[in-house]
């Protein structure tokens, strides 16, 4: 704690989240090896990297679903490596999931309310009798969610809909709402715009910017949409084979030849089209020979 305070005098603030040489293995597969980076408070930090690089695993490690085999994670200066997942949620680590993990048996509203779970105090007796605290707490929660989150994300028309009937894009938005209801200090979004077209991606980008501006929430996201990552982030971390191969401001990362080779590709439609035409001209016999 003291060191954090001491370093607070430095021009760069101490990182809100600090990942230090984190290693994670599944049997023989090393999903992460020695990953380290920091997330500055108030920043938008993006983690990018090829499929299977370990981005989601990294998120899972930060939020406590996986125990790292080595290394440490510090949040607000406190070592949280050994703290169980639910506790971390309570401390202010909110997140959304890559493969939508909404609770399909609940309405949108209940899904969002669930996000607040760790911050509520109702116990079984309160709940069974629904008097006093339970009643007050629920009313309070309801107002807060309606006024701050549902309005903000423009999902008022679906608040009573069961999530299973929503299209993919709306589900992603509800995921974000639920993560916001967790009152996070750091909001971790795993591929928030996957499966969205350009227009919907723009909406989501606006939400992310607004969340930071209005609520002062720090954002850590994994995303494959390079347009969005490069436009929004302050800091980009590139993973490959479980290792950080590059990090820095977007422009630096984009210029890194290794990142280009492993991850970005050409990124230019005309170039791509030319490549495709070329690919299409490969003689058919190549397949048979192999």
């Amino acid at each position: 704690m003291e060191t954090t305070l001491a370093r607070g005098a430095h021009p760069t603030a101490p990182p809100l989240l600090q990942v230090d040489s984190v290693t994670l293995a599944f049997g023989g597969v090393k999903a992460l090896s020695g990953v380290g980076f920091g997330v500055q408070p108030g920043s938008i930090t993006a983690v990018i990297g090829p499929n299977g690089a370990g981005k989601t695993s990294l998120f899972n490690t930060i939020s406590g679903f996986y125990r790292p085999t080595g290394g440490s994670i510090r949040f607000r200066g406190q070592d949280i490596t050994r703290i169980p997942a639910p506790q971390r949620a309570k401390m202010g680590l909110g997140r959304s999931f890559q493969n939508i993990a909404l609770f399909r048996g609940m309405t949108v509203l209940d899904n969002i309310k669930l996000g607040r779970h760790a911050h509520l105090k109702t116990n079984v007796f309160d709940a069974l009798f629904y008097l006093g605290r339970a009643r007050r707490e629920e009313a309070e929660l309801r107002r807060d969610i309606e006024e701050r989150i549902i309005d903000f994300l423009e999902i008022d028309h679906i608040r009573h809909a069961p999530v299973s009937a929503l299209s993919y894009g709306l589900q992603k938005r509800v995921e974000m709402a639920r993560a916001l209801a967790m009152q996070p200090e750091i909001l971790m979004l795993d591929e928030p715009v996957a499966g969205m077209n350009r227009e919907e991606t723009e909406d989501m980008a606006r939400f992310i910017l607004d969340v930071r501006a209005e609520w002062g929430v720090t954002v850590l996201m994994v995303e494959h949409d390079m347009g969005m990552v490069m436009d929004l982030s302050d800091h980009v971390v590139v993973l490959n084979f479980g290792q950080v191969i590059s990090q820095g401001v977007p422009a630096v990362v984009q210029a890194d030849p290794e990142v280009n080779r492993a991850y970005l590709g050409s990124g230019n439609v005309d170039e791509l089209r030319a490549k495709l035409r070329a690919a299409a001209r490969i003689p058919t016999s190549a397949g048979a020979a192999a």
Binding site: T56, N60, F65, F97, Q98, N99, A101
Partner: protein, 292 residues
Amino acid sequence: MDWAYLFEISLTGIASGGLYALAALAFVMVYKATRVVNIAIGEMLMAGGYLFFSFAAMWALPLWLAIPAAVLACGLLGAVIERTMIRPLLGEPPISVFMVTVGLSSVLIGLVEMIWTADQRRLPEFMPTNPIMVGDAFLAPKVFWGAVIAAVFIAAVLLVFRYWRGGVALRATASDQAAAYSVGINVPRVFSLAWVASAMLAAISGIIVGSIGGISSSMGVFGLSVLVVVIVGGLDSVLGALVGGILIGLVEALAGAYLGGEYKLLATFVVLVVILMARPYGLFGTHEIERL
């Protein structure tokens, strides 16, 4: 320690475990392809036993005809069950289908009582009656031959799953029905096949079990031990059915011999819980893949 006694008891336990294994195999067939926990497995055995009884004792067919006829008839019953009760629930949660099989067991018991009355009955004797002696240890001939038949079928099924792509189709269907359709697997056929095969195995098992303990409309309780066996072995594992069957047979025999009859079930359930705590998917069951 009376080693001869221990040996004799264990031998018996292993052999009677073979009977469990065969019934468990019938259960596993259905689970493997359709993810249905068939709680009516005991009643399917019963149906097989009664069909055999009808053919052999009431219609007086010769044995070589009565047995296959009972097995085929039971297979037909399996097909009917699949077509009318299971297939309409394709895609519903497993617990619903589980409950359908609860209803099924009630229907089967009712039908048996309607057709054959609720009296206990004995099946005609058809197995060799010469006692089997292993050294000084005595093994009841029916149990021995039952175990041999069970072993033959389990080996056959293991081979089939090893070398026939139908095994893959079965597992693929269980894993994702829509995707199975989309790769050209005839999902309804897989369902029917699994149920027919399971019902036929159940019939064989029912004939053996019935010839040892007689048949009655409450014979379905045998299914309970079968459930324990498949859980211990792993719901979707053929090998698990074999190993689980033998293990449970052995545990029951030892508990019965050294502790007393009231400890038999208790011992098997304690074993069950201990194994599940160590291996939540049974000894050989497939682990569910859980990723966020």
